[in-house]
């Protein structure tokens, strides 16, 4: 109930640096080059496994921590329809988290271990969730921009070389698109509302635009793991390529909402066929990653508190299960 105990271990074991390993590694890369998916029981280099566990657990943590900023608005939703949409969305994110944790467990790391790393601060999650949700408009902006950026990333990940991750992304992307449409629809309603509602919308986008661009990670020149991940097809497109796709898609959507994006350098570049945009505040980006964002401590503390508050419940459930398993054995 609280974790998968049937965690698969790799089947073939070859001594590191041995000729057998070199052969396995050649076959592995050949499979990847031929776009054949790697499955849980296939041989894979330890570094590939580690990279995937890191990335998938980070991804799952993002889904879970991402429930916090939106979760606080459920009781304040201004209509019952919006309340239900928001609650269902937050619930979906929890489901995404569980689904990706299970995917990562196929690589031999348990959900509990991954969550431990989240609680001790060893594991990261998307830095966007270290920004606060301050207004109702944020419930729309998060759907539009944050789920939007997530989709841009995840559509690429749906083609990643690891089968369980790729399949999880296909399924999750459908729900994320739904979230994005609902978020955008919320913003359209605000954009047609009173001046106060329009101001609320603009303020929210001003605040969340840049953090959303940061969701694609450091620029390609500063992205240390990228080359290897591309070769392994864990990553299919570079950070900057994805970021550009996202900006290009967002400009028209912002125009339709009658709002401006907070970037004076944003303009169409005929020659490139893309929008040029301003420089991200990388100092802020690295600050937030290091733990110095507006909500870092709070987010992790909430995860810890829920875990600690629930300890007696989990213990009780285990004790009950043991007692009753013993009774059944005796019967």
């Amino acid at each position: 109930m609280y974790g998968d105990t049937s965690i698969q271990k790799p089947m073939k074991i070859a001594k590191s640096g041995s000729p057998e390993e070199a052969e396995l590694e050649r076959n592995f890369q050949a499979k990847i080059d031929a776009d054949i998916k790697i499955e849980a029981n296939d041989w894979m280099p330890e570094a590939y496994r580690k990279t995937l566990v890191r990335q998938m657990s980070q991804h799952a943590h993002s889904e879970i921590v991402g429930m916090q900023p939106e979760g606080t608005w459920v009781t304040r939703a201004p209509s019952l329809r919006r309340k239900v949409i928001l609650l269902a969305k937050v619930q979906d994110e929890g489901g995404h988290g569980m689904y990706i944790y299970s995917g990562a467990e196929t690589l031999g790391t348990s959900r509990e271990t991954m969550l431990d790393d989240l609680r001790t601060g060893k594991a990261k999650y998307s830095s966007i969730f270290n920004y606060p949700a301050l207004s109702w408009a944020d419930m729309g902006t998060i759907g539009w921009l944050v789920d939007g950026a997530a989709i841009t990333n995840q559509v690429a990940l749906a083609r990643c070389s690891y089968g369980p991750y790729s399949r999880a992304m296909v399924r999750i992307c459908k729900e994320e698109s739904f979230h994005q449409r609902q978020g955008y629809e919320l913003l359209i309603t605000l954009s047609k509302g009173t001046q106060e509602q329009k101001d609320m919308l603009q303020e929210s986008v001003n605040r969340l635009w840049w953090p959303s661009l940061m969701m694609f990670g450091p620029c390609d020149d500063d992205s240390p793991h990228s080359a290897q991940s591309m070769k392994w097809k864990i990553k299919r497109k570079s950070n900057d390529t994805l970021r550009q796709e996202f900006v290009d898609a967002s400009v028209g959507q912002a125009k339709f909402l009658g709002i401006t994006l907070p970037d004076p350098d944003l303009k169409w570049n005929e020659k490139r066929g893309h929008y040029d945009f301003g420089e991200i505040d990388w100092a802020e980006f690295y600050d937030v990653i290091k733990g110095n964002g507006p909500c870092n401590r709070e987010r992790v503390n909430n995860v810890i508190k829920a875990h600690e508050d629930g300890a007696w419940v989990r213990t009780a459930a285990e004790a009950y299960a043991e007692k009753h398993a013993a009774k059944e054995d005796a019967a």
């Binding site: 304040r76 609650l87 929890g94 419940v313 009780a316």
Partner: protein
Amino acid sequence: MSSMTQKEALTAYATQIADSSLFMGHRMSEWVFKAPTLETEIALMNCALDLIGQSRSFYTYAGEAEGKGRSEDDIAYLRGQTEYRNPLISELPRGDWGYTIVKSYYYSVFAKLFFKALTLSSDKQLAAIAERSLKEVTYHVRYTGEWLLRLGDGTQESKKRTQKSVDELWDYVGEMFIMSEAETQLLQDNISTDIAALRGAWDQEVEALLQQATLDVPTGTWTHEGGKTGKMHTEHFEYILAEHQYLQNRYSGCEW
């Protein structure tokens, strides 16, 4: 005997049912990112979604019955404290996991018996909404009941904590079975149901489960009341409304 027209009584009746579901759901939705496990968190959100969904159906019907063009949200959001008619149990704080489980178990067993009876209402629409709601709360009874067994028959600590919740919440049970004015009036035409008559079945079902959970069955007969009449809500209620109505109060007359 009554100063209410039939229309007013039906509106009031649908509204009081909706209020109960709404605030039960409200409290459950507070468990987002606070539950003991991901599974329990998602399960509780499911229950909250069911309950809020039920409230929407009943509010919408209340608006239709009234015939003055009020929407579900007009009724759900734009009232003062004393106009809300939920039993007090639904507005009590979420407490710890055991408190929430006991609270929603008590409520869900009531709701199951109530909706089952309401499926026989002469009002076809009430009967139809009751039919749908019955499936949902039947699942809530099962889910919270299973947890009650684990908590009661789990560890010393879980037993102690849960017994305390069982005892404290017992004093809020009686109000669920007190007929409101609208409820009494609508009984003549078989629109409402005689909830006072459901108490025996409730006692039987709950006592059996508490015993199975190795918990003591409370014996008190006194009950808190005041929610269903609107005369006296708990101190917690205005805080719920402060959150619930915040945007509607701050920016009145907007589309959301």
